[in-house]
């Protein structure tokens, strides 16, 4: 399963997408993310399962145009 890794250097910064890890569980994804992207003294590092990302896409509207 693919997890996306997000970090920030300082509190209040926006989160940055720094990469991905492959893991069989949330527990492993946390460890892999820390081990793989440990090049900074992050204020925050977190993972999001790719299935939990909400895709933003255009939808057809009346008249056949897209938003």
């Amino acid at each position: 399963m693919k997890y996306h890794v997000f970090t920030r250097v300082s509190a209040g910064d926006d989160l940055m997408h720094v990469g991905t890890v492959q893991a069989d569980s949330d527990r492993l994804a946390r460890i892999y993310a820390h081990r793989t992207y440990d090049e900074e003294d992050w204020d925050f590092i977190g993972v999001v399962h790719e299935e939990n990302l909400i895709e933003v896409e255009g939808q057809p509207i009346a008249g056949g145009r897209t938003a």
Partner: protein, 256 residues
């Protein structure tokens, strides 16, 4: 008692933890390029680096107790390493490797965490920060392996459990009789650490097809237990592994 307050058995105790960690570094290193995926390799390499760093700290405190640094680093025969017997040979498969390092790394951490002496204040806390990631990696892997390959996990547990119990110490070393507790060097007897280790894996594998071996008070046999090398018998790592640990083939490049 040694010059600055260590009781005599404490040097052997710390030596066994240090030697187990140097062999953990070796075993992590052997597997870091052949794990199932890149993330496991990176984690294994990080674990190896942590272990070698911890060994340097433990060797430093051992030399302060009069242990010769040349002997520690480059002049020992294989049977002079007091590593946990679980690490004597390289695991032959990934599930076996994970069980091998999981049991051994956790046991070494529990022994280290039991030390109650000023020389280790701060050092053990820092090592614990490293160990959190080692032990979480192992347990996360064991959870998935218990689902995918329960027979392999259970077989490895049965193989390694007697040796890891010997490393922790005999059941007879309880709160009233553990010499290190009695001397005030540790605050948790071997009998309690054995129970903590067994309970951890019973909880981890609860609800899976993996059975954890029962905690046998007869293992190790207290009369056959070697207090110095924390094992039963005279087994040891192979000479070629010791050559690697001591950098024999590259000795001419040592920076004086």
């Amino acid at each position: 008692m040694s010059d600055d307050g260590w009781p005599e058995p404490a040097v052997d105790y710390v030596q066994a933890i240090a030697d187990t960690k140097i062999l953990l570094g070796q075993r992590y290193g052997e597997w870091m390029l052949k794990g199932p995926n890149l993330e496991d390799d990176i984690s294994g390499a990080s674990n190896a680096q942590d272990e070698i760093g911890q060994v340097r700290q433990l060797f430093r405190v051992l030399t302060r107790q009069g242990v010769d640094d040349e002997w520690l680093e480059s002049e020992r025969a294989p049977d002079e390493y007091a590593n946990a017997a679980t690490l004597d040979t390289e695991a032959d498969a990934w599930p076996t490797f994970i069980v091998q390092v999981a049991l051994t790394d956790r046991a070494a951490w529990l022994l280290l965490d039991a030390i109650d002496h000023d020389d280790f204040t701060g050092m053990v806390q820092k090592m614990g920060e490293d160990e959190y990631f080692h032990l979480e990696h192992h347990d996360g892997r064991l959870e998935t392996l218990a689902e995918d390959q329960p027979e392999a996990v259970e077989a490895a547990l049965e193989d390694y459990f007697p040796d890891i119990l010997a490393f922790v110490g005999p059941a007879t070393h309880d709160a009233e009789s553990d010499p290190l507790v009695d001397a005030g060097f540790t605050d948790r007897p071997a009998a309690e650490i054995r129970r903590a280790l067994a309970e951890h894996y019973a909880d981890l594998f609860a609800g899976t097809e993996v059975s954890v071996p029962p905690l046998d008070d007869g293992v190790p046999d207290p009369d056959a237990w070697d207090e110095t090398r924390r094992r039963v018998g005279d087994g040891h790592v192979d000479a070629d592994v010791v050559d690697q640990l001591q950098g024999v083939s590259n000795r001419e490049y040592v920076i004086a």
